[in-house]
């Protein structure tokens, strides 16, 4: 991939930061009695002691997707931490190059896995992104595009309406559309990216609801709450239904409260801290009322954020303890299913297939969940699991990244698709709708793609897995 280039900067020339710091930063911090956070404001800037953990060894470089693409220090984890340090010392402003390089980070957390020094880049990034959102004015086009994403994606009803338009559009899409889209000016390429990610959607699925209560099959093992999600419920409703069925088959009562809304993960990963905190509080309240032992999540990105509610709301005297209690109950669905393997109640039918499992970054890197989904898949007779080269490198989906940074995401998507093709597998499984949408775009029609619970569900029910 050495011939690929980072996109040119759209942020304009770097301002003279001495004067900028003079005008902008000083008045904001006039009321801060202690501590100097350099170019950051005083609301949870990246902590000095977390920055100090980085010893500049470079072990993170090979697993960083943007470093893999461009080989540039500023677009590597080590480089980004170095930039954070410079900003923390007030040597560089947040506006300009700093924002560009932080924006280009996918937040995949492969560097956290690779780091021998235990640097918590996840916490550093989650402290840095809100600083940018608060303090760096974005261009009008960028601002509008981001607003559009966050006015659409977290809302099931709006997504349903959009999917209806999308379904119609996909049916009627004229062949000339591709040529028209290709001619659009460069600044509209994000819209093109968004358009090309739309999955084939059935109107019936988009409007179907997950049952509010599904009783356990046989002796009851426990009561599991289930996140139905926003994108997942509209575009991958079949995954939710499969999740309900396999959990029930393994002896869980499954509760999917109808009033639940978006968990806030998309916004949290993009630095929209306040908005996400509000969503977190609402979701906590919903599941408190549901009185469940465990909250099962079948979306890697959502589970990762929900496990962090405790930290997100740590400063909130009313919600801190409730958030911590909530986070302690959150499990990825593969964790719940793997726990049941030793005493499995649901007999499996044979599925003869070579399956390649793609670790979603927010499952593998962020939640360190790698063996459980594989163990669950291996419990299906006939399944041969195969591993992916460059498994640790992100597919380019990364929440809303493939819409915000379409060029880099496209390069990564093609790279992932090539690696998947090389395995010769019959089937790809991965536990995140974002990954499914992204990989589908570069592998369309070449092999079926499923969430692991869909394969397990097919095996338990003795039916042919969808798409096979």
């Amino acid at each position: 991939m050495t011939d690929t280039q980072p996109p040119t900067h759209e942020t304009g020339p770097s301002p003279d930061y001495t004067s900028e710091r003079g005008e902008k930063a000083a008045p904001e911090r006039a009321d801060v009695l202690s501590g100097d956070f350099g170019s950051f404001d005083d609301h949870h800037p990246p902590a000095q002691e977390l920055l100090d953990d980085c010893v500049h060894c470079g072990f993170c470089l090979p697993t960083c997707p943007t470093y893999a693409l461009w080989g540039e220090e500023m677009d590597s984890p080590r480089g980004r931490i170095y930039l954070m340090e410079m900003a923390e010392k007030g040597e560089i402003p947040l506006e300009g190059a700093f924002t560009t390089h932080i924006d280009r980070c996918l937040g995949c957390m492969a560097c956290v896995t690779a780091c021998p020094s235990g640097v918590q880049y996840d916490r550093l990034l989650e402290a840095t992104r809100p600083q940018i959102e608060r303090n760096v004015p974005r261009s009008r086009a960028d601002r509008l595009f981001r607003e559009a994403i966050f006015t659409l994606f977290p809302y099931r009803r709006r997504l349903r309406a959009a999917s209806l338009g999308g379904a119609l559009y996909q049916k009627l899409r004229p062949a000339t559309m591709d040529r028209l889209l290709a001619k659009l000016p460069r600044r509209l390429e994000r819209l093109v990216a968004m358009e090309s990610l739309l999955p084939p959607v059935s109107v019936r699925d988009a409007f179907a609801r997950t049952p509010i209560f599904t009783p356990a099959v046989g002796t009851r093992r426990g009561r599991v709450g289930m996140l139905t999600g926003c994108v997942q419920d509209v575009f991958f409703h079949q995954v939710n239904l499969a999740t309900v069925r396999v959990l029930a088959a393994e002896g869980h009562d499954v509760v999917a409260p109808a009033e639940q809304a978006c968990c806030g993960a998309l916004g949290l990963h993009a630095g929209r801290e306040e908005e996400s905190a509000e969503r977190a509080r609402a979701l906590i309240a919903v599941f408190e009322r549901a009185e469940v032992d465990v909250i099962a999540v079948n979306v890697a990105g959502c589970g990762s954020s929900m496990k962090e509610y405790g930290e997100l709301l740590a400063d909130d005297p009313v919600w801190a303890d409730r958030a911590a209690a909530f986070s302690a109950k959150v499990r990825d669905v593969s964790e719940v299913l793997a726990d049941a393997l030793a005493d499995s109640r649901a007999p499996r039918h044979r599925v003869d297939a070579t399956v390649v499992y793609h670790d979603a970054c927010h499952l593998g890197h962020a939640q360190k969940i790698r063996t459980q989904p594989r163990d669950v898949l291996r419990s299906i007779p006939g399944v041969t699991l195969t591993e992916l080269p460059e498994a640790e490198i992100c597919c380019g989906s990364a929440g809303i990244y493939n819409m915000l940074q379409p060029e880099a995401a496209g390069d990564l998507g093609r790279r992932k698709a090539d690696n998947i093709r090389g395995t010769g597998a019959d089937l790809l499984v991965t536990a995140n709708p974002g990954c499914l949408l992204q990989i589908r775009k570069y592998l369309e029609g070449e092999l079926p793609m499923l969430h692991p619970v869909q394969l397990l569900d097919a095996s338990i029910r003795g039916v042919r897995p969808p798409g096979m």
């Binding site: 010893v55 060894c57 080989g71 700093f98 020094s117 640097v119």
Partner: protein, 492 residues
Amino acid sequence: MATPTTATGPTTGPLAADFAAVLPDTCVITDEVGLRSYECDGLTGFRQVPAVVVLPRDAEEVAACVRVCARHGVPFVARGAGTGLSGGALPVADGVVISLQKLRRILEIDVENRRAVLEPGVFNLDITRAASPHGLYYAPDPSSQQVCTIGGNVAENSGGAHCLKYGFTTNHVLEMEVVLADGSLVTLGGPTGDQAGPDLRGLFIGSEGTLGICTKVTVRLLQTPESVRTLLADFPSIEAAGDVVGDIVEAAIIPAAVEMMDSLAMEAAEAATGAGLTVDAPAALIVELDGPADEVDAEFEHLTAICERHGATRLHVPTEAEERARVWKGRKAAFAAVGRISPDYIVQDGVVPRTRLAEVLTRIAEMGRDAGLRVANVFHAGDGNLHPLVLYSEAAGEHDAAEELSTQIAELCVELGGSLSGEHGIGTDKACSMPRMFSPDDLDVMHRVRLGFDPDSRCNPGKLFPTPRLCGERPGPYRPHPLEEAGVIERL
């Protein structure tokens, strides 16, 4: 790339214009933030912002960049992944950094002839990854092998845990294409490894970027050994572990690797990797034997007996490949893992005759106590290559004391009949200790050889050789030399 309006040094503007003629805009970095990202390598105590950073995409572009430097008479520094621990890729003020991180293609795996042709930016471990489906691997395995590049390995003549049996980079490189200081592309060595005439290939390897920039490397691949057995043994003292190493050599066993770690290093590595090390054992050895199964089994029995004779407190034999990999991960992550127990550290790289291991470790412990600093030890015991890690806190103002202790340790190694560096290179860090190891005549000869390749000394100046400047000066913003402060000398 980034924002070209904030050019920093006086040479940035004119240079950038000429680079723009040979490279796309995105491959020329001139903005403050971009340049500062390249101001240091793995040794962060030395920093210097370059005038321009360029990222050529192939050998021709590297040569074109070097020609631009030649035309402007500016120095340049080649950089791989920037993981070096001796400041070998430290930029030069008003000079150019030529990053080779866009030259990352594996050009050929020649299975029949057991060799691989690589661009310099290929990660060391990726060579083995590409070769292993054919039952082959690349032997030199520096601890940073997942990220260090073959180009950097050539510059530093890197070793690694397994160089005890298999030798250093120089024993595995057959042929190289290099760009000389005038921008010409030449080939050193040859595809078969037995070329007539002086071995210029050997001269270039380990020259730390002072003779030119390597743009293509042909390396030897070895057959994956039939059997590999690893032993992790804890000992009640460093001396006992040292004696085991002596006995292994005496028994004519040639292990693939013999590594030693002390308790401080194990504490860090265990926290990082959960490799199964005993953190409260004073010392542990990791010994690996490889080769034909019968031979390995017989030697392994002998090895176990030696360990028991010297009072080993635990013998652990990881059987699964996965478990063995975890032990090695623990060992190889040890340097960076020290970041968990100390905010900053300096890694030393001295070599002593194997028979003086116990002595040198005792002396290092004393010197650490005198300096009030902790020293963790993790090293290639088989060939006496020490890696003492001097732990310190930059924020607490301990940098100078740590630097001094580190230099003392390197010079102690020379005093005991060893060398300043086993594999990390001299770089910026140890250049001024070179006169401790070499006479003025030695250094003069080295310098004349260098001038044969690079008459204007523009390839990575300030590294390897003690410069005519005041030795002990640190590059970067001006600060008075200690002798200046004392009034002994004055700056003209």
